[in-house]
């Protein structure tokens, strides 16, 4: 009987390790673009859920296998080679399960984060050396030896028990959250949204520190985010502080070359700029708190069969369950001088537009009455552009933002700029948005290697594209260091707890 139990365990571990490796490698494509070479064999879509289920299954199997071996000792007789390879398997699976569990809980110290990925690579080597050598030794007989089990010998009770434990653990893991206690303040307290955070109320506020990983340009992709929140009856104030060694305000600058103006970029053509981009910070809000950014992540080049592919091969955000997720997107150049965060949301898949090269799936922008920033080129080309406007004062070329009324429409006769002159690519048509898009006031200041961002929004905006700030609302935070989409991330949602 123990042999058939072993075969069942072996079956399930093959399936779960395969699912875990493939889904994990797909997730790793976000910050390891060389893995996109194997995109064809990696799963698309909501792979975070698959990764969690398969990971939990492996964890349950590891725990049961420890019990199984203590009870039955040896099940198979192995050569020294296979004994060595099996220990390699134990090592890789053990470190993978341990690092994965700590990652899921946001408890893995940043210096050990790479362990999870390298454990997976060792596991791949183990699988190759384990299964391939057995195939070489036994040929097709290995199939019968490893997979054949008469129906009457299937240990149904054990299989059902392990399945139930896995489901219970999955449900429990899904519901794990951080908690951010929101300190109440009086409606009479004046809070200035200036990105300094020197009001005495902030000193008394409860603080939560969340480690975020895998962001481009941060030191080893890591930045810890400190979060505080205050609330009166109408509004909630947030104070975010995160480490960023460089203040990046050089947003796709326009450079004069011998043959004309060019956008300075390193990836913008594929909508994945990671060198000449502003710093940003994003907060997602949802009424639910599920794993994998509440089901809004859809990885792969074309995760939606009947919708366009993305240019970077990494994936899309969308909310396909009929509910929206709110998204506050603060941008150090494009919205900071407006004292706003761009109020966006994740919603259902947008209709693709024939005339637009970039499709954003469910990443959508709240409507606005007026006001905008626009890019300072008549038409974007990776080779050459013509600026939309030139500064009225030539000394005004180093500013990150060019004001509409401090500039004049481009004319060849006015373009007397020398080679290597630089111009801002961001034009403010007005000093702020008006309408739904302007619901979130925000101001950030960079000092000594840290951004401090102060942000406020009404608890109830009554917009169909916003999430109300209530007890139990969950948030996720991401920091961008000079990158367009390659943001840092954490796993567990942060649940807001109001004491009002």
């Amino acid at each position: 009987m123990r042999r058939f139990t072993f075969i069942i365990l072996h079956y399930v571990v093959i399936l779960s390790i395969t699912a875990s490796l493939l889904s994990g490698l797909r997730i790793a494509t976000l910050n390891k673009p060389y893995l996109l070479q194997f995109s064809a064999v990696l799963p698309n879509g909501q792979v975070h859920t698959l990764h969690l289920i398969s990971g939990i299954t492996i964890l349950v199997l590891v725990c049961y296998y420890i019990f199984f071996r203590r009870r039955y000792k040896k099940v198979t007789v192995q050569s020294n080679y296979h004994k060595f390879i099996t220990y390699l398997g134990y090592l890789s699976i053990g470190s993978s399960v341990l690092s994965g569990s700590l990652l899921l809980l946001d408890w893995l110290p940043q210096q050990f984060v790479p362990v999870h990925y390298y454990s997976a690579l060792v596991m791949l080597i183990y699988l190759l050396l384990h299964s391939w050598v057995y195939i070489l030794q036994l040929g097709h007989k290995v199939l019968k030896k490893v997979f054949y089990i008469p129906l009457r010998f299937i240990p149904y009770q054990l299989t059902v028990a392990l399945t139930l434990v896995t489901c219970a653990l999955f449900y429990y893991m899904q519901s794990l959250t951080h908690t951010l206690n929101i300190t109440p303040i009086s409606s009479n307290v004046l809070m200035e949204i200036d990105g300094i955070g020197n009001e005495p109320q902030w000193q008394k506020a409860a603080s939560l520190l969340v480690d975020t990983h895998h962001g481009a340009n941060f030191y080893n992709g890591y930045t810890p985010v400190q979060i505080k929140a205050l609330s009166n009856h109408k509004e909630t104030f947030f104070l975010f502080r995160w480490a960023d060694p460089t203040q990046s305000l050089n947003h796709l600058p326009l450079i004069k070359t011998r043959s004309g103006w060019k956008v300075k970029e390193n990836g913008f053509y594929h909508f994945d700029e990671q060198s000449y981009y502003e710093d940003k910070f994003a907060v997602m809000l949802s009424d639910s708190c599920q794993f994998g950014a509440d089901g809004t992540i859809h990885l792969g080049k074309q995760p939606f069969t009947h919708h366009p592919s993305n240019w970077h091969g990494k994936g899309y955000h969308a909310s396909l369950d009929g509910r929206v997720r709110d998204l506050w997107h603060w941008k150090a150049v494009r919205t900071n001088d407006m004292v706003l965060a761009d109020d966006n949301f994740f919603g259902p898949l947008a209709v693709p537009l024939n005339g637009q090269r970039r499709y954003k799936a469910g990443y959508l922008i709240d409507s606005k009455e007026s006001g905008a920033y626009v890019m300072n080129w008549q038409w974007y080309s990776s080779h050459m552009i013509i600026p939309k406007r030139l500064p009225k004062e030539k000394s005004n070329t180093s500013e990150p933002v060019l004001d509409w009324f401090a500039s004049t429409p481009y004319q060849v006769s006015l373009d007397t700029y020398p080679v290597n002159a630089q111009l801002s690519s961001v034009l403010y048509r007005s000093n702020r948005f008006e309408g739904d898009r302007a619901d979130v006031r925000a101001k950030g200041q960079w000092q000594a290697g840290y951004w401090t961002l102060e942000l406020v929004r009404q608890n109830q905006t009554h917009s169909a594209h916003d999430i109300a700030l209530n007890n139990g609302t969950c948030i996720w935070v991401s920091a961008f260091d000079s990158s367009q989409i390659a943001h840092s991330r954490h796993q567990r949602a942060i649940k807001l707890r109001y004491s009002l």
Partner: protein, 224 residues
């Protein structure tokens, strides 16, 4: 055992070759719009992801539409015009930068014809039905009721049609007559007094002999 090793190595090599050369590297190509084609100021056809463009060819109505800009030229989308046609309407009650006096629809028509936008010199105001045919549900929240990937710089407001002598009602009733306009913010057709400042998209008829009349909508993918 050696045979099995050779077979498995060959198998892995073939799989790697297929993955690298054929797996998941599908080229992203634009799709033609069923109705619209971008046209440059010189009258040249562009693919959907090319630009800039100054006109849109309407393959359904065989018309060429003016594309608005944000460059403070005569085509700037922020300029407004009162409705005026020779002796009818109300001259110079809109706002633009290109006239010393204020602006009316005839000013824009004259200037555009003088400049032969997209090679055409028969620019005019669209009829109500022509203009209303551009109405479509917004493709993004809060956007205008038009294909905004082709018709850029369209404002959330009223756009004049050529249909005049319309009887005004309600709070405009005392002004008696006006012209029809299409509101791309609400997706509706309304009657406005001639003196109102509204936006304009001009239109031009394509003759049978015009090179652009040979273009028709296609649904095959094309290379950018």
């Amino acid at each position: 055992m050696i045979t099995r090793a050779i077979i498995s190595v060959l198998l892995v090599a073939v799989l790697l070759y297929l993955n690298v050369n054929y797996g998941g590297h599908k080229e992203i190509v634009p799709q033609h719009h069923q109705r619209f084609t971008k046209i440059t100021a010189q009258g040249r056809q562009l693919t959907p992801w090319q630009g800039p463009w100054s006109c849109v060819l309407d393959n359904q109505l065989s018309l060429l539409w003016e594309v608005k800009t944000d460059d403070e030229s005569i085509h700037d989308g922020y300029w407004t015009y009162s409705w005026y046609d020779q002796n009818k309407g109300h001259p110079n009650f809109g706002d633009c930068y290109f006239e010393t006096a204020r602006c009316d629809t005839q000013d824009l028509i004259n200037r555009t014809n003088t400049l032969s936008l997209c090679g055409q010199t028969n620019w005019r105001l669209p009829t109500e039905s022509e203009l209303a045919s551009l109405l479509q549900s917004p493709s993004r929240p809060g956007h205008v009721y038009i294909a905004h990937d082709y018709f850029i710089n369209i404002q959330k407001g009223d756009y004049w049609s050529s249909d005049a002598n319309t009887t005004l009602s309600q709070h405009y009733e005392h002004l008696k007559f006006g012209a029809k306009a299409v509101n791309f913010h609400k997706g509706s057709v309304i009657a406005l007094p001639y003196r109102n400042a509204a936006f304009v998209i001009l239109v031009s008829d394509i003759t049978q002999t015009h090179p652009l009349s040979q273009l028709s909508s296609r649904d095959t993918p094309l290379k950018q």
